[in-house]
Symmetry: C2
């Protein structure tokens, strides 16, 4: 990995972790179990890819990244809530997450449902309270994030499509639609919000929009490839790129999407440096 | 019931129902099942007490109630999401809600979890998009609503306390704390947001804050009394006012809270008329 990106990722992860820890209710605040569960499923050494992308997009236009940290942390809260709910017995029924018991195994199902609800609610409370930006920009960013997380083409739609695709043969178009909503929407929103709150000019925002679409989809294809090759078989019976295209073609698709993502950044010139390095980092994961 | 309030409630319910129907994704938008579930659990003849209170508080200061309708509908979406999740097997495990199968019985558990998540997400998307008010007021209203719905003293905290109280003897102070967070917080937020977005002067907001605390708690005491007398025993084993104080004393407590609520409105003069009539309506339910 590029040394500059490696240093950036290290610093941004510490900053995001510190921000999350500050924003989450203390573990000894009643009702204690839910606050412990919220921290358990959030402060868990996650890679923080979404908030890091959000911050990288912001720092393309602003020197100081401090103002964007609560917003980036809110994006991560939404990601973490979705993992808690996805792991529930009625959903993907996963007993483990990142090498430790999933939230409902460590606590119980009721607490896991409520901890997810609380993280989603807190994300919007944090956004509404981020007074470092003009109020109308916060509102627009909130709209974009909520749409990317919702049931109309957002993450929740993706989760429903995903559940419905189990054991069913889907077409390539359907698979792309699932991945776009399940993963790409939130990743794209994270990047877009970072650059929008950084006050990127409209022409750059158009380029970034294109970048978001490609990188979000590439991210899920790469994730599928990793899942297919790490032997965990989390996605057994689900519609994935490797199951539909095979590993080799999936790798070629990921490379092609990444190439398009990099091309979309060209108009940004040197401002796109960190986001470009991110493409390298994400692509390296499959090698 | 007072004829003016009766007419108002009738009109406001139609208006809220129409607004909700407009804001919810169409039932044939993919993924269809979740959108059907969201409508099933929202467009169900609910009493719309929270949005009606929100609108009544708004119309104390504004002639035209149209601008507040999406905000009031967002409050109702949060209420409906909480009912869907509360009914889940891991929570209160209720097979019926308002006389029909609860969401997870009519659809399935995964869809019920996701439909709740989607309603919560949509509520914040609607708030962020309500461009009828100054952006900084929308942000403040969103903060207040999110806090009232969250795990720090809000509705989610109340649900955890409630689950933890099952079969346990709680003190009177604990019972009041449960009710304050479980129900009173969201009811209070609905009223406060309505008057705040209606641009009530600060002195009125202070009176309304007091009103909110009393009416929210009174509402849950009355609900407990109704549950204890309607023979459904939904709350068996749970901490309720009738189980701790008996029916007679619970009725006296409700009357006392309502008296304090009415007194809190005195400084508003005739502006408080509809909210006062609401107190009559809520109190009438126990007779």
């Amino acid at each position: 990995m590029n040394a500059e990106l490696s240093a950036f990722l290290h610093r941004i992860r510490s900053a995001i972790d510190a921000t999350l820890s500050e924003l989450l209710p203390p573990h000894n605040e009643p009702p204690e179990r839910i606050h412990q569960a919220m921290r358990y499923s959030t402060m868990d050494g996650g890679k923080r890819i979404r908030p890091a992308l959000c911050t990288a997009a912001f720092t393309a236009y602003q020197q100081d990244w401090k103002p964007i940290l609560p917003v980036a942390a809110a994006v991560e809260m939404i990601h973490c809530y979705s993992l808690i709910h996805d792991d529930l017995p009625a959903m993907d029924d996963d007993d483990f997450r990142r090498g430790k018991p999933s939230c409902h195994k460590q606590f119980d199902e009721a607490i896991a449902i409520l901890a997810g609800d609380a993280l989603l609610t807190l994300a919007f409370e944090v956004l509404a309270g981020s007074n470092q930006f003009p109020p109308e920009r916060i509102l627009r960013a909130t709209s974009v994030l909520a749409a990317a997380s919702g049931s109309s083409g957002g993450m929740i739609a993706g989760q429903v499509f995903d559940l419905e695709s189990e054991g069913v043969r889907v077409t390539r178009e359907q698979l792309e639609a699932i991945h776009r909503s399940k993963t790409a929407a939130l990743i794209g929103a994270a990047v877009w919000i970072g650059s929008y709150l950084g006050e990127a000019p409209q022409t750059d925002l158009t380029s970034i929009q294109k970048f978001c679409e490609r990188i979000g989809l590439a991210f899920q294809v790469i994730d599928d490839i990793l899942d297919a090759t790490d032997g965990h078989n989390r996605d057994e019976g689900k519609a994935t790129y490797p199951s539909l295209y095979g590993l080799e073609e999936s790798r070629a698709i990921a490379r092609h999407l990444m190439k398009e993502a990099r091309q979309a950044l060209e108009p940004l010139g040197t401002r796109g440096k960190l986001l470009l390095a991110f493409c390298d980092y994400l692509e390296d994961r499959t090698n």
